[in-house]
């Protein structure tokens, strides 16, 4: 009997084929993160977000033999959830939108750091400005900004989640940052 809490995500994924308890452990590990991701990226109600995440876990279980061990399990889980969320949006005939909550305060510091803006310069008003600019970004820029700054994913992880080359991630992020910088400069 394994002490499943000590196993890595990838080891749990391997064992999930024959042992649903291992998959249960993966659900426990990822449910809060994925739920927060869906809530941030959607105007869905909490119930809808829970449905999206639950359906994503069912898909992960059904396709667990397709998990590529070159990837991090988290990237694969985010990918499936992201696609499930996009499907949900398609059915609703709407587009994903980034929602920033009060819990995301420290993310502004991260964005400021990345854009070489002094932390002190990120005042309350500027935060509001950043938030409004992010919301006006094209969805393809929003999704990389969301994964980079709100989910703290590396370029390679974002590439694996969105299934685009890492170079494209870098280009999109750099363009998104440029839009943010230019718009902030215009504000000031």
């Amino acid at each position: 009997m394994h002490n499943i809490t000590k196993l890595t995500d990838e080891e749990l994924a391997k064992l999930s084929v024959s042992d649903t308890a291992c998959f249960g452990e993966l659900i426990d590990r990822y449910n809060p993160t994925l739920l927060r991701y869906v809530m941030r990226r959607s105007h869905a109600t909490k119930e809808d977000a829970e449905d999206i995440v639950q359906n994503s876990f069912i898909k992960m279980y059904r396709n667990i033999n397709d998990f590529d061990y070159d990837l991090k399990f988290s990237s694969w889980a985010y990918r499936i959830t992201h696609n499930e969320m996009i499907d949900w949006y398609r059915k609703q005939n709407t587009r994903p939108q980034l929602f920033i909550t009060d819990k995301d305060e420290n993310i502004f510091d991260s964005i400021a750091g990345d854009m070489n803006i002094e932390k002190e310069a990120i005042q309350k008003e500027t935060k509001k400005e950043i938030e409004s600019i992010i919301k006006t970004l094209d969805p393809k820029y929003q999704e990389v900004v969301s994964l980079r700054f709100f989910e703290d994913k590396s370029y390679e992880e974002i590439a694996d989640i969105l299934e685009i080359p890492a170079g494209t991630v870098a280009i999109r992020l750099s363009r998104a940052k440029k839009i943010l910088q230019d718009t902030l400069r215009a504000y000031s």
Binding site: D28, F57, Y61, N63, N65, P165
Partner: protein
């Protein structure tokens, strides 16, 4: 210890008898996703082989008799169809390979570079195989069509056919429509050509003088070549001299004393030039 959510999901999995799909299902699925990429690269390779065949069989031997300049020759012989095919299928490869399991990880540049390199290597292999084993594959088809068009234009000074018989300085040849032509070889004097023999296929540059309305098909030969491209270089004793001097080469090849031949060939060149520039 399982949380409420994981318990709900595990119960659903259990209740609905949801099972992980078998590994072989994904192996097959990923293999199937490679099919368009493999097909596109394969067609690209055939296009490369076709280009190589067209270049090798563009008729270097007749260049000086038909084309005024190198540019006219290159423009007329460019394997446009194969080049378009190669570019078209090359542009599809990115889309085709991006759908594969890990295709998203590669940049457009990498996919194009690897695919083009693979197509070229495979193309060279297909071309070499076709040449060695004389497969007579699809890569020869456009050249064959072009050859038919170019070398069955008696009004434009080019004719081809199989030699039926040879009587003194006249040849009787059957063209592709089974029309019997009399070829006047008198301008060549006593020169003999090893490839001018009964049953052999030849190409002739010259001028048609007969009256087609009364079934009088006469063609005065100014230059005679074997049908099989490349054969001339092996069979002509003057080939080594030919390589050194363009003018000597033309004279050696023609050895035709008919003074009208220069005019005939100049007219052909002008006609082809006008056609190419059009």
């Amino acid at each position: 210890m399982s949380t409420h959510i994981s318990q709900i999901i595990l119960n659903k999995i259990d209740k609905e008898h949801i099972k992980p799909r078998a590994k072989w299902y994904f192996v097959m699925k990923h293999a199937a996703l490679w099919i368009p990429g493999v097909l596109v690269t394969g067609i690209g390779a055939v296009a490369v082989a076709g280009e190589l065949y067209a270049i090798a069989h563009s008729g270097w031997e007749f260049r000086d008799f038909v084309y005024s300049t190198q540019t006219d020759f290159v423009l007329a012989m460019m394997p446009i169809m194969w080049i378009i095919s190669f570019v078209f299928f090359g542009s599809l490869i990115v889309k085709a390979l991006r759908t594969t399991h890990a295709g998203y990880r590669f940049s457009v540049k990498t996919i194009l570079l690897v695919s083009v390199a693979t197509s070229i290597i495979l193309g060279v292999f297909i071309y070499a195989t076709d040449e060695i084993f004389e497969v007579n594959s699809v890569i020869r088809y456009p050249v064959q069509v072009r050859e038919q068009q170019v070398w069955f234009s008696p009004n434009e000074g080019r004719l081809s056919g199989i030699i039926e018989n040879k009587i003194e300085s006249d040849l009787k040849i059957l063209d592709k429509d089974n029309t019997l032509w009399t070829i006047d070889m008198s301008g060549f004097g006593s020169t003999t050509f090893p490839y001018v023999a009964e049953g052999k296929s030849i190409r002739i540059i010259g001028t048609s003088t007969g009256d087609a309305d009364i079934d009088d098909h006469i063609f005065i030969a100014c230059a005679v070549f074997p049908w099989d491209i490349g054969e001339f270089a092996h069979m002509s004793p003057a080939s080594s001299t030919i390589m050194r001097n363009k003018d000597v080469r033309i004279l050696n090849r023609m050895r035709n004393n008919n003074p009208d031949c220069k005019i005939v060939i100049d007219n052909i060149k002008q006609h082809v030039k006008d056609k190419v520039n059009k």
